[in-house]
């Protein structure tokens, strides 16, 4: 009984711990773009900007999760842009099964000053995905992506 109890307590402890730890959400502010780009570390990378209040984004997020589970080596960073609480963002990420992805959220407002260093042509439309190849060259997709093309892009640039 004691053993079972310990095992059960351990299980509870771990599950509580893991739950609290489950979705890590880092802050993103103006000036942070170069540090995001440096995450690529010589590999191709996609940075996906999305918002919890953006219907096309919410529709697409579970597909990003599917893509990542089939292309495990693909480097994708997710940045949530709406001014909402981290709990609301975590809830959406959990629903999309993207809790373990590399998640950030904008904490200083999605204004032109924040967008300019990412892409001067970006006027705030979401979703938007910036593809950065090994040489640092970028390609931007506004709106939902075609996952066949995303797959091909990672394959070509790897």
């Amino acid at each position: 009984m004691k053993k079972i109890l310990i095992a059960f307590a351990t299980f509870l402890f771990i599950s509580t711990f893991v739950n609290a730890e489950e979705i890590s959400l880092k802050s993103y502010q103006k000036g942070d773009w170069s540090s995001i780009v440096s995450l690529a570390n010589g590999k191709p990378m996609a940075v996906h900007f999305w918002g919890v209040t953006c219907a096309p984004c919410i529709k697409e997020m579970p597909q990003w999760s599917k893509f990542l589970s089939s292309d495990r080596d693909a480097k994708v960073v997710f940045i949530q842009v709406d001014d909402v609480s981290p709990e609301m963002i975590r809830k959406m990420l959990r629903q999309a099964n993207l809790g373990n992805a590399n998640n950030y959220y904008v904490t200083s407002g999605l204004d032109e000053r924040l967008r300019y260093e990412i892409d001067p042509k970006w006027r705030g439309e979401t979703p938007i995905t910036i593809f950065i190849d090994k040489a640092g060259k970028t390609e931007t997709t506004v709106g939902s992506v075609n996952f066949q093309s995303v797959k091909a892009w990672f394959k070509k640039n790897n």
Binding site: N19, T53, A55, P120, G124, E125, T126
Partner: protein, 408 residues
């Protein structure tokens, strides 16, 4: 033994929660390190959007959203000083503060003030438009209530008050999209809905749909034509998922024909959060400006129609081709038209103005009229009598109401 077991679970529960809270506060502390903290108060200094209204007797009413609250203040010296603001509503993080959201405020001659704004009513991000009234010039407001009774999303209200005091309100309504999704047909976007109030906003007529297919995240532009009819402009969804702009006159019989302003060819399912602007001159010319990333043109553009929208002039680009232009806004007074927009050069945001004295046939050169180095709201234009003002909320330089023109 059972007792220890229960205690253990209780302890774990408390510990678990405590840990989660610690994580949160530790995260907050980390965020504060070395970086400026976000502006949190409900004052104008932290507002993301501020909307002005000038009453016939020269009083400025300003409605803004900040710190999760909707506030209204009054100024008798054109925005230099304000009385203490009235908090009309509080929604915390559920308040809609998206890039194209702003509270709407209007007033009649007798000091009846009407306010509308949107917030997110459920965890699926369905929005609700709330309305509130003041019968004492904006000193006190009624408790906000929902504009319509519908479980789907209603967002981005736009208001205009007619000379007879009647109120026109248009908004993005997702009831048709919700119904379509329920029946298994996956659909994106929203619809353009509108209603009128003939009693100063106490009651509204049954809402009507002007266009079933519109973008769901761009505010609607509204202006009155010489017949006192609202002319609306919005990002419609044309066949094939093309999100180009349309204008439409709302007559007493209902919505008239949907008129395409330009074939930009922006096929996208993105949320641009970047709605258009419209102003109708005393001659009935419809002046329109908008942002697009279409296959045929990309940037911010202007066009006009002299036949109630049946055809539009060729789009004219605003700003240089690679300038970061955004947020156009138009105002017409008689045959005079003012057009402003924002440009960002990597350091400063400037407001650029263009003016026409002949109903949009010819235009002055671009001129920078204001600039700021921090966050700024959309530049807005407002008239009172024969005077025209630029209304611009900036984080670093405060709220500014600047006289930019006058007609004889």
């Amino acid at each position: 033994m059972a007792k220890i077991f229960i205690l253990g679970i209780l302890w774990l529960g408390v510990f678990g929660q405590g840990w989660a809270q610690m994580d949160h506060s530790a995260h907050m502390a980390m965020m504060g390190m070395g970086k400026p903290s976000a502006c949190q108060s409900s004052g104008l200094e932290c507002a993301n959007a501020a909307t002005p209204f000038l009453t016939p007797d020269g009083k400025l009413l300003l409605a803004w959203t900040s710190g999760g609250k909707v506030s209204v203040a009054q100024s008798t010296d054109l925005g230099k000083t304000f009385n203490s603001p009235v908090v009309v509503a509080e929604h915390g993080k559920s308040l809609d503060t998206g890039g194209d959201a702003r509270p709407q405020i209007i007033s009649d001659m007798k000091g009846n003030v009407f306010l509308a704004y949107a917030f997110f009513k459920d965890s699926s991000w369905n929005a609700q438009i709330n309305i509130a009234r003041s019968e004492d010039g904006g000193n006190t407001f009624t408790a906000p209530r929902s504009l319509v009774q519908d479980s789907a999303s209603q967002r981005f209200p736009s208001l205009v008050i007619k000379s007879d005091g009647n109120i026109f309100i248009a908004w993005i309504d997702k009831r048709l999209v919700a119904a379509s999704n329920k029946s298994g047909q996956k659909k994106l976007g929203g619809s353009i809905a509108y209603s009128n109030s003939l009693d100063g906003g106490r009651t509204f007529q049954a809402e009507r749909i002007a266009n079933e297919d519109s973008c769901e995240c761009c505010r609607i532009g509204v202006s009155l034509n010489p017949k006192n009819q609202p002319v609306i402009i919005y990002r419609a969804i044309f066949p094939g998922g093309v999100r180009d702009h349309a204008s439409q006159i709302i007559s007493s019989n209902g919505p008239e024909k949907i008129r395409r302003i330009a074939n930009d060819g922006w096929k996208t399912d993105a949320c641009p959060h970047h709605g258009p602007t419209v102003a109708v001159s005393s001659q009935g010319t419809i002046h329109a400006a908008w942002f697009t990333q279409g296959a045929n043109r990309s940037g911010v553009f202007y066009a006009n129609s002299r036949n109630e929208g049946a055809s539009y002039s060729a789009p004219m680009r605003l700003g240089k081709i690679d300038a970061s232009t955004s947020r156009p806004y138009l105002l017409a007074l008689g045959k005079n038209v003012w057009l402003v927009w924002k440009e960002f050069d990597g350091h400063n945001t400037v407001v650029v103005i263009k003016q026409s004295g002949d109903d949009g046939k010819s235009w002055s050169k671009d001129m920078i009229i204001s600039q700021t180095a921090d966050y700024s709201d959309h530049p807005l234009l407002i008239a009172q009598g024969n005077q025209v003002f630029l209304s611009w909320l900036t984080r670093a330089d405060g709220y500014q109401l600047t006289k930019i023109g006058q007609i004889e």
